[in-house]
Amino acid sequence: MGREWPLVAFTVLGQAAVGIYVCAGTPLFLGAGSAGAEGRGRLTFIFAVLGLTAAASTLSLFHLHHPARAFRVLTNLGQSWLSREILFEIGFIGITALLGVCEGRRVGSEAFLKALFVLGGLAGVLFLFSMSRLYMLAAVPAWNRAWTPLSFLLTSLSLGALTAASIGGRWSGKPHPGGPLVALAFVFVSIEFAASLLATPVFGLIGHMPSPSLRPRAPARHWIHRFRLFVLAMGLGLLLVVVTTQQGSAGHSLGPNGFLAMALALVLVGQISDRFLFYGLLVPPGR
C-alpha cells in the first residue's frame, strides 16, 4: 500500500487541479462580469492549477522504475488507458499554459479566452475519465466498479469547490468566500461522506461477493476507512459552521476563511487516506 505513494500524490493532486480549474475558473472566465476580472487574479489561478499539475506529473515519475524510457508513453493510445490518461493530462496542462500566456500577454479576445478555458476544462474532464478507466480492470474486481469514477470525481469536486471557496475569493478580488461555492463544497463533501460510508469497496456498508482470483485478499484496514470518515465528518462540521454563519458576523476568532482552510485541510487528509485505502485493495502476489 505504502509503495504506491507517488500514485496517491499524482491522483489526488491531478484531480484537485481539475476540480480547482472547474470550480474556481468558471466564475473567473465565464461568470457574470468575468470580463472585468482582475488579470492578476486569473494568472494566480492559472499558476495554481499549473503548479498542482506540475507537482502531480513530477511525483508520478517516482513510480516508474525506468523514467528515462517514458518518452514512448504515448505509443499505445489505441489500447492503453494509461497512454490516454497521459495524453489528456498533457492536453490539460498545455491548454492551461496557453491560457496563461494569452491572459498574461493580453493576446486574443475575451471570447477566445472563454473558448480556451472551456477547451481546457474538457481536457481536464477527459483526464479524469481516463484516470478512472485506467483502474477499472476486469482483473481487479475491487477497482472495476462505479465507485472508482465516482470517488475520483468527488475528490475533484470536493477539493476544487473547497479551494475555490477558501482562497478563490482572493483571485476574483472578493474579500470573503462566495456563498454558493461554500454551499457547493458542503454538498460535494456530504455526498462523498455518504458514498464512502455506503459504497467503499470491501469496507462500505454495501458488501460485495469476492470472485475467484489468483490474488491474495487485501488485509482489512478498517481503521483507515474509519479515520477517513471521521476527518470528512469534521470537515463537514466546519463547513456547516461557515454555511450557517457567513452571512452575518462570523462570531468566531478564525472567521469564515480560517474555518474553510481547516475544512480543506481535513478533506484533503480524508482524500489521501482514501487513496491509500484504494491502492491497498490490490495486493501484489509474490514478494
Binding site: 525506468h66 514512448r72 488507458w81 482483473a139 470472485s211
Partner: protein, 205 residues
Amino acid sequence: MVTQYAFFFDAASCTGCKACQIACKDRNDLEPGLLWRRVYEVAGGTWEKRGEAWLPAVAAYNVSMACNHCQKPLCAMACPVKAIGKRDDGLVLIETTRCIGCRYCEWACPYTAIRFNATSNTVSKCHFCFEALDRGEPPACVTACPGRALDFGDLDELRKKYGEIRQIFPLPDPSQAEPALVIRPHPDAARAAGRGAEVANWEEV
C-alpha cells in the same frame, strides 16, 4: 504451423511437487522470490454428518499456473509503451529494454503471471522457453513434471486431445483474456468454491 501455443494442465495428476516451478526458476536463473510458474495449493472443507456418520467433505488439489499467452493479452493492451507483444505463434513476450517499470500490466493480468524483477527493474514473466521451443525442445516445466500433468502444443490440437475446459477454481473468468490453456479438472474442483476452499500457500506464490 502453430498459430497459438498453449499449455495443458492436468489437475487430477498434479501432486504439488513443484518440480515445474523449480525447473522454470533453474532454466531462467530467476532470483529468490521471483516465480514465473507457481503451484497454488487449493484447500477447504469440513466434516459433514451423513446419517449417523461424520465424513470429511473436503476439496484439496493443486493448480500449476504460468503465463497463459492469452489470445486477448490484457497485459499488452495495458502497456503504454508497447513493450509487450504477441508473436505469430501466439507467444506473448516482453521487450524488457522498452519496459518503463510502471507495472500497469501486472495489475491488468488476471493470472498474476507478470512479476516484477527487482534486478532488471522491469516486469517479467514466463516466455514459454521460446529459445528452446525454437530449437524444437519443450519448455522446462513440461519436461520436469514427473506425473506428466503438464503438456504443451498448438491450442487447437490440445483442445482436440484434452477438451475445452480452461477454468477451475480459483482461476478467474476466462472470457477476460481468452487464455491459451486447457485444463483437466481435479474431481474436487467443482465442489471447491462451495466448500469454502482457498489458496493455502499465498506466501509462496
